[in-house]
């Protein structure tokens, strides 16, 4: 069978399995190689760190989205949660109305409440999460506009922009990159090493079996959406810090970029099978594409075509290799 399919064994796994397991990193290396060949500034360490900083909020939302997609769900409202976080925080601290920490705590509670609302309505109302979050995407964005009266509110609180956005640890590592690394480690642990993560994967794999096994399916689902809002909260703070304001318009592309990163990373949209490392790699692909195409001065119209094409090609390659591997 192997000879017929042309797939050879290597170190206990077939070449096909090797490509499937490492497809994200292979795609990433190819993309980075191409961009480096076309413009060597791409591989400059400062550019690479800037690239991570610029997409840090996509990475962070991608981590949370991995739980949701593993549950066979989707959350389109994360951009709205991020916008409300930035707008609410900027208004709370404006003119010294409130110190930073209480303002952060209030906005954290608000964000978690929005996530809880998504999960609760979806579970208790028996509505597809896609439809619930499609609605709340508009509701949250509208609330951000109402709260701010459409005015971006500059954030002039000392230390905020440095801590969440423009600061550098040791003069080198942008603080958003540090957030990505810390949250990546925490998310990996939560996903792979805790009961919660295990239950999420079980429910995504077979919801009825999980229910029969005694897993509180509704509770886990609501918790996952609430958790996802926490990631959107952090992303919202980073966005507000990077852009020096609470802007109701921020984070519009956040859900789709994060979902693309998760899918590119190998998490099945049908649920059950998720990979935090994969999400990291998938978001890196999105980041590398954005950075590389910017460096090549590619017009926006071409950029979106390339991004879409890479996602489709990655999916086709994934399916092809899986099919070959199963032969």
């Amino acid at each position: 069978m192997q000879a017929k399919s042309g797939v050879k064994k290597r170190g206990g796994i077939t070449v096909g399995q090797f490509f499937i397991r490492f497809r994200t990193i292979i795609i990433l290396i190819v993309i980075m190689g191409i961009f480096t060949a076309l413009n060597d500034v791409f591989i400059n360490p400062i550019n690479l760190l800037n690239m991570l900083k610029r997409q840090s909020f996509v990475f962070i939302v991608g981590f949370g989205m991995t739980f949701v997609i593993t549950l066979a769900g989707l959350d389109l409202s994360v951009g709205g949660v991020a916008a409300i976080t930035g707008v609410g925080f900027s208004m709370l601290v404006k003119g010294g109305l409130m110190p930073i920490v209480p303002a952060l705590l209030i906005m954290l509670v608000v964000a978690l409440a929005l996530g809880f609302f998504n999960g609760f309505v979806s579970v208790k109302g028996k509505i597809e999460p896609f439809l619930v979050t499609l609605a709340t995407m508009n509701i949250f964005r509208g609330l951000a506009l109402i709260l701010s009266e459409g005015r971006p509110t500059p954030i002039v609180v000392e230390g905020f922009a440095d801590f969440f956005g423009n600061g550098k640890i040791g003069g080198v590592f942008p603080t958003p990159v540090v957030f990505v690394i810390v949250l990546f480690a925490a998310t990996w642990f939560l996903y792979k090493k805790t009961k919660f993560g295990f239950y999420v994967r079980c429910i995504g794999g077979n919801q009825e079996a999980a229910r029969v096994a005694g897993i509180k399916v509704n509770f886990i689902k609501i918790t996952a959406y609430t958790l996802n809002a926490f990631y959107a909260f952090v992303a919202g703070l980073i966005l507000a810090a990077l852009f020096n304001s609470g802007n109701p318009d921020l984070g519009k592309d956040l859900p789709l970029d994060a979902i693309s990163g998760v899918i590119l990373g190998g998490t099945a949209i049908s649920g059950g099978n998720g990979r935090i490392w994969g999400t990291f790699g998938g978001c890196l692909i999105i980041a590398a594409l954005s950075s590389g195409m910017s460096l090549l001065s590619l017009p926006y119209s071409y950029q979106i075509v390339v991004k879409g094409a890479v996602i489709i090609l990655a999916m086709l390659l994934d399916n092809y290799l899986k099919a070959r591997s199963n032969e």
């Binding site: 971006p152 509110t153 990077l242 852009f243 020096n244």
Partner: protein, 414 residues
């Protein structure tokens, strides 16, 4: 030169007289003294000539297109952008570095476009190119770069400040000589402006930022645009013999945009003097939003005597709603989209405050080249606004869309 010679002669005579009165001094000594004096005088004369040459060079190093400057604020002053915006509720904390005053410039240049002294590389980040206005700005900037002899790196940010900031970080790594940017997010651009300042790279913005520092800004006086739109509507209402009593509906963006706030100020000022006119503001983003809102307003306000679209999407939505409702309410506008110019020609719009997309781009590149060449430039440069009515709409079309005609557009051949 004559003065120098006369001085020499005078010195010589004095010395000879001195020598004659002092027999102890030998002719050789006198000659040495004379030579020293001559040398000193020649040195002084050379210094004077050098100073004069430097002064002449300073005069020559004027802005290449200064002939077209109509000064609103004198050279040596810096426009107070913060004082302009903050009273309108638009928070602004911007420093403009260039001290060459504030000038109005026309849609055209009397003198030749500047040539770069060196082979500069300039980064240009535009907020959007996927429409006619954006693509005209980009095409103009690329042509101007070619004309000036500089290399242009382009970033199409598509209203994404993150993408714009990415490009600017990369240009800093590429050691560009200057950056021209049209901000996507008026506050979010501060990060880029800070980074450029730290890197010592000059920056000229096309549209003002609301935070950070820039060497110079190219903009339009949007208060004037609003005034022009208001005055055209006011005149049309009066010409139609309609009493200044009733409602005027105007459509705005749902969020605060500096250009919108300033246009609104100018428009509202025109109608302040009419106590019986109620001004009703509606908001939307897309032409569809504005269509729907205006459709409702036409039904809800039978006493409507006029309407105003603050920007092109508003006017286009309102004009189509008006046509669908078979309403003859008078409508004015800002912006010069082809559909708006056609609407003016057809009589569906009384007039629009228009401005070129091409010339501000060209003026901005001129500013950057002059700045890099070491010339003092105006800190704020206002592009020209034009009140376009049925009387001048065809001429305006040809100005704003070179090589095309309104007739051709309406016939579908252009």
């Amino acid at each position: 030169m004559k003065k120098v010679v006369r001085l020499l002669v005078l010195v010589l005579v004095v010395l000879l007289a001195f020598a004659a009165c002092n027999p102890a001094v030998t002719p050789e000594e006198v000659q040495d003294v004379v030579e020293d004096v001559v040398e000193d005088v020649v040195d002084d004369a050379e210094d004077v000539v050098e100073d004069v040459v430097e002064d002449v060079e300073d005069v020559v190093a004027m802005h290449t297109n200064a002939a077209d400057f109509d000064y609103q604020e004198a050279e040596g002053t810096v426009f107070d952008l913060n004082g302009y915006y903050n009273p309108l509720g638009v928070e602004c904390d911007v420093t403009i570095r260039a001290t060459g005053g504030t000038v109005n410039v026309p849609d055209g240049m009397t003198d030749a476009f500047p040539t770069a002294n060196e082979a500069y590389t300039i980064g240009f980040s535009v907020y959007y190119t996927v429409d006619e206005v954006g693509s005209m700005i980009l095409d103009t900037m690329e042509a101007a770069a070619l004309e000036a002899g500089v290399t242009l790196l382009v970033n199409d940010a598509n209203y994404d400040q993150n993408a714009q900031n990415t490009a600017i970080e990369q240009w800093i790594l590429q050691d560009v000589d200057g950056v021209i940017l049209a901000p996507c997010d008026f506050y979010g651009v501060k990060e880029s402006l800070d980074a450029l300042k730290e890197a010592g790279i000059p920056v000229v913005t096309l549209n003002p930022p609301l935070a950070g520092e820039a060497d110079a800004v190219t903009s339009f006086d949007c208060v004037v645009q609003g005034q022009q739109a208001g005055e055209m509507l006011e005149a049309a209402i009066m010409d139609a013999g309609i009493e200044m009593k009733g409602t005027i509906v105007w459509q705005n963006l749902p969020f605060v945009h500096p250009n919108a706030a300033t246009r609104a100020l100018g428009f509202l000022q025109v109608f302040e003097k009419y106590p019986d006119v109620e001004l009703i503001e509606l908001t939307g983003i897309s032409p569809e939003d504005h269509y729907t809102a205006f459709e409702g307003a036409l039904a809800a306000h039978p006493d409507m005597i006029g309407a105003w679209g603050l920007y092109s999407s508003a006017t286009i939505g309102m004009m189509n709603a008006k046509l669908a409702a078979d309403s003859d309410v008078l409508l004015s506008s800002v912006d010069n989209d082809k559909l708006i110019l056609k609407g003016i020609y057809d009589g569906d719009i009384v007039g629009s405050a228009c401005y070129s997309s091409i010339w501000p781009a060209r003026w901005t590149m001129s500013q950057m080249i002059n700045l890099l060449n070491g010339v003092e430039i105006p800190g704020l440069l206002y592009g020209a606004n034009m009140a376009v009515t049925p009387d001048n709409v065809e001429e305006a079309f040809e100005l704003y869309y070179p090589g095309q005609t309104l007739a051709g557009f309406m016939a579908g051949t252009e």
